[in-house]
Structure formats: C-alpha cells, structure tokens
Subunit: 339 residues, 4 copies
C-alpha cells in the first residue's frame, strides 16, 4: 500500500518534494533518487531510509523498486525523462514545464497517445490551491454569471542574476497561463505583451514588469501583471469579472496587527510560503490516484498548451503585436480532464 | 461673505448641486438658475430663497447678482457657457466634460489665456475623494518608490438605453483618464482599447466591457476595465504598482455583517453614494477659492487633455491599435496646477 | 435664513466647532463668542466677520442677535449655561456631559419640562457617525435577529497628565454608554467595572485599561474595553451579536498599502480624524432643526441617563460589584426621541 | 519507521482521526481499533489494511502491535484508558478533556509522575492552528508590548438537544481556557461567568450565550463570548490587546465575492472546516515526536489545569461571583513545556 517513488533532480525544489514525500504525505516513500550532481543526490538519500542512488534518470526509471517517477530536474531534461517513463509504462509527475519547446511537447503527446493511457501529470500546483479552487467554484457555480475578464498579478520579490525577460513569461506567467485555461475550461486564442515603464531594479535590457494579455477563445480577456523585482513580497493576485459580479483572491494573512498608526497583515515572502499546502494537496492527490491505478492533475496536453502559449508570448514580446496561439488538434485521450 | 452662484442646467446632477450649494456648504447661496426646460428651472427655484430664474445661460451670466457660475447643462452646451463666463470675467465651475470636442476645448483655452487668468474649473471630483487623495499621498510620498503601473476598474450597475460604447469612454473612462494624469502628474502618450467578451446584458452592437490601456509619457501603463452593465453595484477600483510596493483603494463598507455563512459589506449602489463627499469637498474648495479671489481644482487644460484623450480612445476603439494622444503645447497659464 | 449662533467656550473643541459653524456648514454663522479667557475669545472672534465677544455666558445668551447657543465650556459650567438658555427660551446644543452630576442634570430636566418643550440637545456625536448608523440599521433591520451582546473598545493613544481612572469612565466610556442606550433603545440596568492588568504606561495609582460591563434592561450585555494609553492609535471598535448573526464596525482605512512584507491601512490618530464627519452631520442636523423651529439629537434625558450611568460606574469601580443604575421616571416630554 | 497506532473510540471524531492517520499523515498507520459499539469498530476497520478490532480499550493497549494509543472515546472513559496506557508504558494522545473531573486528572498526573516521563498528550488543537500560532508569535515577539487583555468569541452554529449550559463551558470554552494559558504562559487565577440575554433559540432553562471572564495570575483579563446557537456559522474570534498594539485573528475566507450590492467571504460552517489543518499538524507533530522516542503537545498538566478551570467555571456559573481557580503544585515533570 506504500507507493515507491523515484525522484529525478534533487535541487531546491526536488529537495522540497523529497521532504514532502518522505515526511508529510501518506502512503508514499522515496525509494530512489538521482541528480546531475551525484554528491547532492547521495546527501539527500542519506536522510531517507533505504533509498537508492542512481547514476542517471534512465537507471532510476528502470529500477523495479520504483513504482512511479517524479521529475524535478532542469527544464531542458524533462522531455528525456518523461519519454523514458512513458516507455517504461510508469506514471510520471513532471514539474512544469512539461518540456521547454513545442516540438518536445509534441513528442511527449505522441508517445502518451501511442501508449493509449494517461501516464503524465504536470505540476501546475495552483489548481490545488484552496483560494484558486474557491474562485473556480464561484465562477463555475453560476452565481455571478458568465465570465468576461480576469485580472491577475504575479509579483516576485526578486530573481537571480541570470533571469531574463523571457523567463518572466516561461517561469512566472506560465502559471497564470495554466490558471486561465483551467479557470475558464478554454484555450488561449492569442497573446499580447505590453512593456510598461521598466523598474529601476531590473538589470539593463530587462523588461520588468510586463503586462501579458491572454485572449481566450470565448473572448474572455485575461490581463497579467508580471513583476519579478517587486521587492516587498511574493504577491499573487487574481480577480475574475463576470456578468453579475466578481470574485477575487483575498489577502491570506492569518492575523491582523495594529501598531504605530496602522493595522497590517503579512504578505507571503516566497512561493513556498504561499503554495506549501497546494503542493501537499497536489502530490497527495497524485499519490492516491497512482496507487489506485490511474493518474490525476494537469495532463501532458495542459503542459503542451502552456508551453505553446509561452512560446507565443515570447514572439509577442518581440513583435509588440497580438499573436495567435496555434495548437495542434487535441487527441481524444485528453477529452476528459481528470482534475 | 456669501458667494452668489448661478446654476445653468437643473437636471439630475444640477439639482444635486443646487441642494449641495443651498443646504450643505458654507459661504454660498444659489442666486439664480436656468434650464432648457423653464418649468424645471422654476420648480427648482421655488425651493430656494430669493433665487431668480433666467431665460437662458447668457442672461444668468450677465446677472450682476451672480458672482460665479456653475455649468451642469448638457455637454454640447458647455463651450458656449464657459466662453460667456470667461467673457464676463466671472469664475465658472463646469461639470465634465469641459467641452465635447478638441476644437471647442481649444477655443476655451484660447479665451482663458487671452483673459490672462484662470477662470475655469472642471468637475473631476475624484481628485477630492478621500481614498484617491490617500492613494496619491502614498504614491507621491515615496515610501513605495516610483510608479510602474496602475490597475483600475469602473463598474456601473447599468446605463440608460441610449448609452453607447463611445459613451463608456466619454462618460465613464474620462474619470480614470483624469485620475491617471493627476495621479502621476503626467500626460497620456497613447491609448489602446481592447474589447473582451461582450456581456449578454449589453445591447446589440454595444462593446461592454472595454479594457482601456493608457500609456503615460513616463512609461507608466494604466489599464482600466470599464463595465457599464455590471449589475451588482457601482464599483470603483484602483491599484498603483510602484517599485517597492503597491497602494489600492480599500473596500469602503462601514460595517461588516455576518449571517448565513458569510461575512459581508456593502458596495455603493451608485456614483452619488460613492462620491457624495468628494462633490461636497470639491465645491467647498472652489467656493473658498473663488471667495478669496481666485480659483482651484482641475483647470481648462485638464479638461482639454481629458477630451483629447477620450477622442483618441474612440479612434483606438475603432482601429484596435495603439493611438498616440497629440496635445497642443501647454500655455504657461497652466504651468502650476492649483489643485 | 441664516442661524446666528453664540458659542460659550472657545478652547480646543470650541474652536473646532467655531471653524465648523463658520466655514463648513450651511445656513449658520457664529454671531458671538465668550470664554473664561477673554483673550482667547477675542482671538477666535478676530477670524470671524462681525462676531461679538461677550464677557460671560449669560451676556451671550441674552444677546438678541444670538438665536441659539452652543456650550463647549468646561463640564462643571454646563449646568449654569444650559439652565440660562432654557430660561431665555433659546435652543442650546451642549457638548457632553450635559452636566457633571445627577443633581445638576435633574435640575435641567425639571427646567426643560417646566418650559414645556425641548430646548436642549447633547453632543453625543457617534449617533451621527456613518458606521454606527449603518450598524444600528442592521440591528434594527431585523436581518440578524434580536441582540444578545455588544463588544466595544475605546482606545485613546494617550491622555494628559491630569487624567484619572474616573475620567476614563466620565470622558471616554460615556460615549459607549450613550451608544448602548441608543443602539438598543433601552436603559442600562447595572454596571460592573473590572480592572485588568495595569498598563506600564499608566501613572501610579491609575487603573488603565478598564473593562466596563453594561447590563441593559433587556438583558443585553455590553462589554467595553476602555484604554487611554493605547499608544498606537485612536481605535474605536464595536460588534453587536444578535441571534442570527453579528455586525461590526469595519476598519476605516481608505487605502491599503503593501510594502516590506505587509499590507496595511491607517488607524485614525485621534478623535477629530475619526469623527470629523460625525460632528459635521450632527451640527448640520441641529442647525436645520433649530432653523425649522425645533431641535433634534440626544435630549437632556439622554444626557441625564449617561451622567447617572457614569456615576454608577464610578461606584462600581470602587466596589468591584454589580451596581444598579437608578433613574428617575422619564418625563413625558422625552417619550419620543427625535433622533 | 511506520508508527502503529491504536484508536480507542470510533465515533465521529474518532473516524475523522482514523482517516487522518491512515490517509493524510506520514509515517503512521492505524493498526487496531476498538469502540463501545463493536459493529462500528468493525466497520471502520474494514476500510483499513490489516487493522485489528479489539473487544475493549485494555486489549488494544495490550496489543504488542500497537506502538501508541489515541483516545477519542466518550469523555468519562478517558481516565481509564490514559491510566492503562501509562501503566503499559505507551505514549497516548487523548482528545480533550484529559478527564472529566479534577480527581481523575489528579490520578493521571500522579501516575505519569510515577512513571517518570511524559507519556500523555492532550488534544488542544488550537495550539497548532496557523492563525493562533501567528497571534502568539506576535504576542511573544514583543513588538506590541506586554499583554493586558484578550477578547475571544466561540460561536457554534447549533448543538444537539442534549447540550446544556455546563457543556458550553466544558466542551466549548475549554478551548479558550487552554488558549489563554498557552498564549500568556500563565495559569488562570479566577473565573467569572455572566449570563447575558438568553437566545430564543436556546432550550428552556439553558443559558446561551455566556460571557466567561478569565483572570490570569499576571492580571491579564480574558473575556470569552460562548454561543452555541449562533446559527450563521462556526465563528472563532480572538484579539489580544497589548500595551503598544493589538493582534487579532483575521477572517479566513479564501475569496471575496461581489454580487447583489455586497462583497462577501465565507465563514466556516463547522469545527472541521475551521481546524482541519490544525488537527493534521497536531497529529503529525505527535507522530514525529513519538517516533523519535518522546512526545509533544499539551501535557497532562495542561489537561488537568483546563479541567479544574472548567469545574471552577461551573461553580461561577451558579454563584454569579468571581471564583478562584485552585491548582495543586505543578510537578517538576511539567516544568518545561515541549509544545
């Protein structure tokens, strides 16, 4: 009854997931790990009972003691491991992105379709966040009518030196792209990217913030402020405007303090603080589904559509124009979303 | 010490201002009224002590017992009355718009510049709203750094049958246009208008809501959701995003009620409820300034710039493109804004 | 149509009311002033057109150019001036307290009853505060059922050196006492005063904060935290608990600022910031009513009942016990409250 | 590495904990269950892999395959099972109350002290609630000074027919009693219970709501409104007033919805919705501590002190007076609280 999971990639987020899988969640253990840095993998394994260290991802996937695979390595390596897991017939949870290019995602879709069943789940954890779930419940519940617009903001306090304008779209806005598709159960038809005044905290040649405009096929328009040098906090905002009302994420502070002329609450410091429970819920749901013989959560199609929208966003960032998002036909395997 | 004001136009908003001038504010009385409908003017005058009824605006302006003029008639008539007041050397408070065309505003600027002193004040009452004032104080106070973006929403519960998409810009968004200019002490460089999914409550051929994007010369980008069939309330939202933080208008409910599984507060029902005190403050400031021999508040230049931005917005609504806002050179008379 | 008001007492609150009467409100002017300090009275009069300075309150009341009287002098002098105004048949607005002892209040009631009409209005401005009014509207509207309890807090940032524990009740809690009577349209049956841990900021021998418990005749129990060295702000809280829900005063901040890991709003700095509009509304209502030949607002009976409840509170502070509030029979003149 | 837990009592809360231990938390399984109703125990065991059903609590405790015991049976049975667990040298988590009488708690203290190490943990889950933890962090962090008062409210939407006024104290207020002791790291010196107007929804002879006043040894005064027929929601409120500021539990709604003239958020429907995560955190902490060879969380002393305070509360309910809380000397075993 305990699911044996192998984790490929034991960097920052990989270690956080190892902690989650070994010390927080039910019905699961980490049976094997691997990393591009073998010492790091060994270090992580030392804290785990009976965990094997593999030389590479393929070996880990081939390990008969590994029931299912978690991929949290560097984005460009995702395609290889996801394809290998599909080839091995093992369920795989892949952190976003599914793969870094449209072509790579295409190959994953083809492989999974050929396998004839869903084996891939992609880590868009906001779908498991209580606030986003409550928002979607209101939107789909009908009490405020059909949706017309969504306003969103994704504010990171800061980013490493290697961060670029392109990464604002690929690493930050990708979450808002997935939220838009999920919230409205619709595909993105076109993307625009506007470049407001540049923050003095952004490096030379870096457009930060961006205003990304997503046009859904229904006509619903989603505007996303994406800032990665916001400084003050990790601040995720969202409001859906419908025909008869609106619904927005509330401030999530647990207490209100009054002192020195103000009342105040905390804004989360980083994505871990903000989404710790969403990650827990997401993984427990996946563990339970895999243990029951299936999978759940965002599919390879969701990963594909997000990557294509990001690619289109990069084109739009350069052109300044409205750029259409062109998707292949959706295979029948993905007709019914299981999340 | 009592300022004798004449009011041109005694329709809905004119009557509200007559009430304000005669029963709420200090140091002022309504000495004369006129209206395109003489019976309506007489009806309003009956409730006022010693108020004269004039056949037309020119007669009212010429009345030696009228110290200053308030213009609340139909928009297309504003130019005539404002020019007449300038000609008579009398201070005039003109409800927005200053005039309905760029050319008409040009003529008013020319006349006032020729007069050599400010005689015109335009009714952009949000500049007197406590919440907007607090927001501007934070933005200019420097505690959250230089501004980068502003998000705004202007939601009307409903509009009369004669309302059009153009009026969303001219009658609703004009306030957000003035707020943007005032908040950032900057002119609008360009306007875009996007058309999201159309509300089923909008009439055939009517684009509602709109997403209006204002680009300031500094690069600050302002997005304004303008909805006029929002149904649920009169909901005015605003958030300024700066380099080190943000500031937003709070919900203005006076009490929180808990019942039936929710905690809730009131959203204003209409512009009168939302801005009643802003109108009071605006007029008292104007009365005090006029009594002291000058004027205050948004100038004819502010009225001109708003009308030009609205005209540009209409072009942008039709073209779907980014349209530059082309202003004449600002006369020196307007170098120092007194509000 | 302009009401000529005489103001007795031009200290801090007197000057604030003179400003209000001469520069903010409609249909009123300050015709005369007097003060125990003649220089201070003359200084105030200098800023007013044609205002007379009287040697004492009686002279001011006798001035035929004074239509109505505002008493804002030191509490112990209130009785004399209110009685004189009644004797002169002039309407009088008396800041709280109506008088400082039960016996003095008795004499005022007797005089007003003998006069046969209401001439006295007492300055309990919270009844005119929008938040308290919205709260009362919910409580009396029936949507949350019959009231059971009320929780209140009255927090002053600091008090002068001469302040005492007794003044916490007489000067601060007196407002909560009036609110309780007005909110529930009921008299207070008994008072308890508990003494929590003493703030280190309170002077030696000074019990601050207090927890004052008011028991209404209906059984509704009101607990009032009264703190006068709260330091951080002027913070007025209130929540009424009914059978089917609750209603509470919301935080009144106009904007929410996010910076340095928090979102925050302002708490008022003092009573003027918190209640400035309540004072305006209160006085305009009184001016309008007096101009129309009557009066409005809290009556001498309300002033009497508040003073008796305060006296009982002082007994309870010393005894530590539940002390009954013993009121005389209410004269028929006060059967119908006009506020 | 998997802790084998036996659960005594599989009623409503017992089943919820079985779900938590078997499907939510890490490093634990339910190895055995028992219940006064054997069919109910068997039904629960059917959903668990390899779980044994025992005829009674003693048999379960004696089961060598049971590493640690969870007691969630009817309150009056707690003493027997806790004593048996201590005798068996097994760690035991006992839902509140530790025992229903002072004498029973005394016997447990004596037994644990005789055992020479902590074996008992009591289920006061609020200590693990994120909001209460954030509140305590502010209070102990010193940024708002020393505490003076605490205001609390405990509102249940409804209670079963067998509920009594005594149970308001024993079953509801007991949580606020534990919070007060924990928040201020202090014992309760005295209790008062006031009886406000009785809700028409309370049964004949039933005092609901109550206002319970807890006086800490430091002088901090805690007022607790306890309502069990509040109808509208499960509403838990708390505010600590310190010398330089206050801290209060915020409303916990995840989204704000605007419709029909209001903005609103959800209030939890019941204790499970409100405290689901606190229970998870509490049990995971206990499992981790027990696996590591110790225990954590509220101790038998905390359970004893809460029961004595409740007993004193019942005396105070009857007497209407201030009743002192008389505790035995605290054994050295409890000198250092491990939670």
């Amino acid at each position: 009854m305990t699911l044996n999971v192998g984790v490929i990639g034991t960097g920052m987020i990989g270690q956080d997931h190892v902690r989650r899988l070994s010390r927080v969640l039910s019905g699961v253990r980490v049976a094997a790990v691997t990393d591009v840095d073998p010492d790091r993998a060994r270090g992580v394994a030392e804290g785990l009972p009976d965990a094997r260290v593999h030389a590479n991802g393929q070996d880990l996937i081939d390990d008969p003691g590994v029931d299912a695979v978690v991929v949290t390595s560097w984005g460009p390596t995702h395609e290889e491991y996801v394809l290998a897991a599909i080839a091995a017939g093992k369920q795989v949870f892949c952190e976003k992105p599914l793969a870094t290019t449209r072509d790579a995602c295409d190959r994953i879709l083809d492989a999974e379709v050929a396998a004839g069943r869903r084996l891939v789940s992609v880590g868009f954890m906001r779908r498991y966040d209580e606030q986003y779930r409550a928002m979607k419940a209101v939107v789909t519940g009908g009490e405020i009518g059909d949706p017309l617009l969504m306003h969103a903001a994704h504010r990171n306090p800061s980013v490493p030196d290697f961060f670029t304008s392109e990464m604002i779209i690929n690493d930050s806005t990708v979450h808002d792209i997935d939220v838009a598709r999920w919230m409205f159960d619709d595909e993105i038809a076109a993307v625009r990217v506007l470049t407001p005044r540049v923050s003095s905290k952004a490096r030379e040649g870096f457009n930060d913030p961006l205003l990304v405009l997503l046009e859904m096929h229904s006509g619903v328009l989603v505007d996303v402020e994406a800032s990665v040098n916001a400084g003050f906090a990790y601040d995720i905002r969202g409001e859906v405007v419908c025909e008869d009302g609106t619904v927005e994420l509330s401030e999530s502070a647990g207490v209100v303090t009054k002192r020195a002329g103000t009342h105040s609450g905390r804004v989360p410091a980083d994505w871990r603080e903000r989404f710790v429970r969403a990650f827990d819920t997401e993984f427990q749901a996946w563990i339970d589904a895999v243990t029951a013989g299936g999978t759940t959560g965002p599919s390879a199609w969701d990963g594909y559509a997000a990557t294509v929208a990001c690619e289109t966003g990069l084109i739009a960032l350069r052109s300044g124009d409205r750029e259409p998002v062109l998707l292949r036909e959706r295979p029948a395997l993905y007709d019914k979303d299981s999340s």
